[in-house]
């Protein structure tokens, strides 16, 4: 009896406190008893403090610029934050692990309580705090006098709320689409378009390097000033009645978005999952299984190809690598040719794309995830694991080699010396091999769960963000260092050296598989546990 009534009468403040404690407990619960998770958490905490401090400092330093310019810069910064918060969660960075609202569906919560609670859990976390700290740098950078500071504080809080609410609105509104498998696959690919679009200003800025920066900033700020985030920033600089009107408008937008979010939330909670209503059959005679000798190796290669085609996670990684390569080629083609030597143009995008593509394999078992047991109950020797890695390497190489070749060709044509493509394609292929070798070792040393639901907005299962970060950055650094011996000499003009690149790359890949096989077989149960976390 008592329980029922308490549930209904929970005040707003109590609701907020309750959800705050819930979120803190969830974060703490994810860390309990796992040293690697704790290390990862500390790691991201340190990163967060650094980002927050650096961001705050950068924002407050705009005070050194002319007042008009300072306001313009803050407007752009606020707008960038807003856009980042809007699309950021879709980009799967491990910044947000918000409570799944469907878990609250059965609790007798009023809309107001639900909204307050969800908002509280959304703002409780490291990265929301970082955002708050950085944006409050604008007060230090722009505000003047007590009234100015007061306006600044309100503006920063509104901007913060705007970011969070927009982010929630977008994810909740898309959650219907994100729940169905096909929708999830589509969104995953759609995200790439957003990434490409976000590169557009960068490209324009690169193209127009003759334009002066100031005019670009003024022009951009002139437009962005009318976005809600821009208005908030503008108000800090403007002060007075103008600021009050501006902030009132922003507050209205926040409330409006909030209302839309709650409406979307209520709808999302009672909308059925339609993911199983797609009876389309697949039947493919894989080329790999026809060309390769019958056996486990061919089975792995065929499976990998199917996964690239059918699993959005793998596809997104590959397409992102292609997109980044394309953006790089495109942007340097607009850059001054005089600044970069032809060798740079031909090699740099090729090597970067080779490294990015090959490091898709740096968590090779993550995509298999919980199904990896099927391998585990078969593999009886290190050779089996090595074989498995080799199959994955072949599949990835078949996809990556043409891409790297195309990027090299494009780069060398832009450089005006198509012949450069020959040595640097060799170098690119070598780097590919290096990346595969490094990836094989990283896969067995730092495996992590790759979430099946892309709307988990994380590249790793809760608590494994640190491991994922270490794994991907560690292998990026190791891959770069190991690539230098084949990249540098041709770059400095020793072209014949490039003939060594492919054997070197294959050697590193072989060594990586060797180590990966030996280490991986020894800790297969641990790898299985690491990639099978609930996500």
């Amino acid at each position: 009896m008592a329980g029922l009534q308490q549930g209904v009468r929970l005040g707003l403040g109590a609701t907020v406190a309750l959800f705050f404690r819930l979120k803190i407990r969830l974060i703490a619960g994810n860390l309990r008893g796992e040293v690697s998770r704790q290390i990862g958490f500390v790691f991201s905490l340190v990163a967060a403090v650094a980002v927050a401090a650096g961001g705050f400092l950068a924002m407050s330093l705009v005070r050194l610029a002319a007042p008009d310019m300072a306001v313009n810069l803050v407007i752009i910064a606020f707008a960038v934050f807003w856009v980042t918060w809007t699309i950021g969660p879709l980009l799967m960075f491990g910044v947000d692990d918000t409570l799944d609202p469907s878990r609250l569906a059965l609790l007798p919560l009023t809309t107001r309580q639900l909204a307050a609670g969800m908002f509280t859990t959304s703002v409780t976390g490291i990265w929301p705090l970082v955002t708050l700290v950085i944006t409050s740098g604008a007060i230090a950078g722009l505000a003047a006098g007590v009234a100015g500071i007061a306006i600044g504080v309100i503006a920063v809080l509104l901007q913060f709320a705007l970011c969070i609410v927009t982010s929630r609105l977008v994810t909740t509104a898309l959650s219907g689409a994100l729940r169905s498998r096909r929708g999830r696959d589509l969104v995953a690919v759609g995200v790439l378009l957003v990434v490409l679009l976000s590169q557009a200003p960068n490209l324009i800025a690169n193209r127009g390097s003759s334009l002066d920066v100031e005019r670009v900033v003024v022009g951009m700020a002139g437009i962005l000033r009318w976005t809600p985030a821009g208005t908030a920033a503008h108000s800090i600089g403007a002060g007075g009645l103008q600021a009050v009107i501006g902030l009132a408008a922003v507050a209205l937008v926040v409330l409006g978005f909030g209302a839309l979010w709650i409406a979307a939330l209520k709808r999302a909670l009672v909308t059925a999952d339609t993911s199983t209503q797609s009876p389309a059959g697949v039947r493919s005679r894989s080329l790999a299984s026809r060309l390769l000798p019958d056996g486990a190796f061919a089975a792995v290669v065929a499976k990998e190809f199917k996964y690239v085609r059918r699993d959005p996670r793998g596809r997104v990684g590959l397409m992102a690598a292609v997109a980044v390569s394309a953006v790089m080629v495109f942007s340097i083609s607009g850059g001054g040719r005089g600044e970069m030597s032809g060798a740079w143009l031909a090699s740099f995008p090729a090597c970067i794309s080779a490294l990015m593509l090959s490091l898709q394999s740096s968590n090779a078992f993550g995509i298999d995830g919980r199904s990896l047991w099927m391998n585990a109950v078969v593999f009886g020797t290190p050779r089996d694991v090595r074989n498995d890695l080799a199959g994955r390497h072949l599949a990835l190489a078949v996809i990556a080699v043409p891409i790297v070749t195309a990027v090299t060709l494009a780069g060398s044509f832009i450089a005006g010396d198509p012949l450069l493509a020959v040595p640097f394609a060799l170098v690119g292929w070598g780097v590919l091999g290096v990346g595969l070798g490094v990836g094989a070792v990283a896969s067995v040393l730092l495996p992590y769960t790759s979430p099946e639901r892309i709307n988990a907005f994380s590249g790793a299962a809760p608590g494994q963000g640190g491991v994922a970060f270490l794994g991907s950055f560690g292998s990026l650094i190791a891959g770069t260092l190991l690539s230098l011996p084949i990249v540098l000499p041709p770059l400095l003009g020793v072209m014949w050296w490039s003939a060594l690149a492919v054997p070197y790359g294959m050697g590193v890949a072989w060594a990586g598989r060797r180590i990966g096989g030996a280490v991986g077989f020894g800790r297969y149960p641990e790898i299985l546990a690491a990639v099978s976390r609930p996500s």
């Binding site: 498998r181 486990a296 499976k303 199917k306 109950v377 099946e452 149960p525």
Partner: protein, 292 residues
């Protein structure tokens, strides 16, 4: 089974010429045990943090039996089965399957066992047919053989119509059936199934039972964990009862039952039967009158 033993004793006579008497006795008992036992664990132990999930389990399953592993939630059934099948590393204890040590001789063991683990973890983006083919090829079966066996399994399991659908779109029953097919594909000597009937509709369950009965009738061994006592009682000839990380009873079904129904025997063994008399009256006084 008889000729297996005599064969073993014949071997031992040969060995006897070279070894001492006491060693010989140990050898005989070990060899005889291997002849008749499909699974034997000794002192199997696993701890997760503070919690002891499995605290010294001596699981024995005779060869050719249809064995049920029963116990309440959290008794350590899944943890035990994971360790027995080489998916989870035990903290202590040994596991032998057909006389081979699971952690020292993985090649021999893995060729002999088929596994359907808990949950429904499968390669989601393969179709049912592709899943079977991947599994078979990974085990080194010739492709043609794999295709033929897969086709027969799909037919028996009534999965022909869905064979080309992605596993991600399968229902629970279909997943269990395709999982069992994958586990049977290489004709293992011992089959380990963790909750094979959980969430499965009666029609699919019936198919699973038929396939499993046919399989054990040929002398192969099935070990499965379950909560459904009726099913265990109907299917199994050997039962191991687990409670709080220990085996509390183990043996032929009739011996464990000792005249009771298996359900009653189970409740008595795990200590749930005793408390039924008075304690229910103490709490929950507010429950059942929802006028407020």
């Amino acid at each position: 089974m008889g000729h297996h033993i005599s064969e073993g004793v014949g071997d031992l006579r040969l060995i006897g010429r070279f070894v001492q008497q006491d060693t010989l006795l140990t050898c005989i008992s070990a060899r005889l045990a291997h002849m008749t036992e499909a699974v034997r664990t000794t002192g199997l132990y696993k701890r997760f943090g503070q919690q002891i999930a499995v605290g010294g389990v001596d699981l024995v399953v005779p060869r050719g039996s249809f064995a049920g592993l029963v116990g309440p939630n959290g008794a350590g059934k899944t943890t035990s089965l994971s360790m027995v099948t080489g998916l989870l590393r035990p903290d202590a204890g040994t596991i032998h399957i057909d006389g081979f040590d699971v952690w020292l001789d993985p090649v021999a063991v893995k060729a002999r066992i088929g596994v359907l683990p808990e949950g429904l973890r499968l390669f989601e983006r393969l179709s049912g047919r592709e899943l079977l083919s991947y599994n078979g090829q990974l085990r080194g079966l010739p492709k043609r053989e794999v295709e033929q066996r897969a086709e027969e399994l799909l037919t028996v399991m009534d999965l022909k119509d869905s064979a080309d659908k992605l596993v991600v779109d399968y229902s629970t029953g279909m997943r269990k059936k395709i999982g069992l097919s994958a586990a049977l594909l290489h004709n293992p000597a011992v089959l380990f199934l963790d909750e094979p009937f959980e969430g499965v509709d009666p029609v699919s369950a019936n198919t699973l039972v038929e396939v499993l009965q046919r399989y054990t009738a040929s002398g192969s061994t099935v070990v499965f964990s379950s909560h459904v006592m009726d099913l265990v009682e109907r299917l199994c000839d050997w039962v191991s009862v687990m409670s709080r990380g220990q085996i509390v009873a183990q043996g032929p079904l009739d011996q464990v039952r000792a005249g009771r129904s298996l359900n009653q025997a189970f409740l008595d063994l795990v200590g749930a039967g005793r408390d039924n008399d008075g304690s229910g009256e103490e709490g929950l006084s507010w429950l059942g009158s929802s006028r407020a």
